[in-house]
Symmetry: C2
């Protein structure tokens, strides 16, 4: 900790730049977020926090976020977008760290592969997101009270939930949370999980079909009931 107080170029005060990634998935109709456990050291020993880490000298923040996502969640080539930069001088009690926050959308099938442990942090874990109002968002495990996240990560999570809700209305990000083939009911379930409220089935289906964003495939999903047509995106990126 003393090293950072050595004499240096005054334009570069002792200050770190980190990325934190809010990784979302939807599983069983529930919005979930990936959290990692902090080591048993100050600050916030053992607390849950968003996966993140310092930006390396030769990489952009975007690169760093993608790297963290690969390391902590084990996923690549997913939707990843910058959220906001958090820079309160005391947001990290040890030293000055500016956090460039990102959010990622991962389909449930990819999410299952991820969540690997490394040496310092224990295995990351998926938490459900509870966000009844616009101003609150909390992570919790079923049957347990919500957890309080380290640093300002509760605020980052809240900001991320607001962002995806707003964005879902006019950008087709819902597709990012599904495998290549999906039923319209599954797509609707994703929308409901993100928005936090039910949507009308007939209106939803007609809107989606009119949008031209999905194409009917010839496969069906079977079950102990009427089979559902499987759809696919007409374009993978937007």
């Amino acid at each position: 900790m003393t090293a950072i107080h050595t004499a240096r170029d005054p334009r570069f005060p002792a200050l770190g730049v980190a990325v934190d990634v809010v990784v979302f998935t939807v599983r069983d109709g529930q919005l979930e977020v990936l959290l990692t456990r902090r080591p048993d050291e100050e600050p916030f020993p053992g607390a849950w926090s968003l996966p993140g880490g310092f930006v390396r000298p030769d990489e952009s923040a975007d690169d760093a976020a993608a790297r963290e996502l690969a390391e902590k969640a084990g996923v690549e080539d997913v939707f990843l977008e910058q959220l906001y930069t958090f820079s309160a001088p005391d947001r990290d009690p040890r030293s000055r760290v500016v956090a460039v926050a990102y959010y990622a959308l991962v389909s449930a099938d990819k999410a299952a592969l991820g969540a690997r442990a490394d040496g310092r942090t224990r295995a990351p874990q998926w938490f459900r997101v509870q966000a009844e109002s616009e101003e609150h968002a909390q992570a919790f495990l079923p049957g347990q009270p919500p957890v309080t996240l380290a640093f300002d990560h509760d605020e980052i999570l809240r900001t991320a939930v607001q962002r995806i809700r707003g964005k879902l209305e006019y950008v087709p990000i819902g597709f990012q949370l599904l495998p290549p083939h999906f039923t319209l009911t599954e797509l609707q379930s994703v929308y409901e999980a993100v928005l936090g409220h039910p949507v009308d089935k007939r209106n939803f289906r007609s809107k989606i079909q009119k949008s031209g964003l999905v194409r009917e495939s010839d496969a069906v999903k079977k079950g102990p009931h009427r089979p559902a047509k499987l759809f696919e995106f007409t374009q993978r990126t937007f």
Copy 2:
């Protein structure tokens, strides 16, 4: 330049955090942006650039942006919002600098007070913004070709123009660009300048009046024609 390579905490590589502020105003129906001239030293000697500077150890990026705005544009208490963080490793050829970009909206009456010079940089100057398509935005002086900005500031400017256009549609930021009392024609002119295209007078007026965001005052603006009613915002903040 060597100082930043001294041994130090590895979590804090030699890396600076700066803020750049895209200060907009609307004057004579034209969207304008404030630019400062770089000193005659590398990199980009004498080039025009967005006002900005390094974040100090004890201030947040928000604070730094507000400070830059006060120092370079001479304005305080204006609309100022974070835009995006630019972090390509080579965006500053000298050394690693991450830029947290902001955009500000200043009314033309306040803008006239600002634009002061300091020792290193010459007096900042207002440039018009040309942005016919969504993908291009350039600064220019009347009768002159567009200027190429230093660093990645052309990209930042373009991002800022996209942002205010998108935001204007659903957030009443147009008011930030006007003095406390204004005519509906002036407000319409601000919208047209930001959006870059004309809007229908009758539809605009009925939408604004229905919104409840403005209140008719009892003053009028005179001229060599029929006097126009002056309006005021019903709320100063949103």
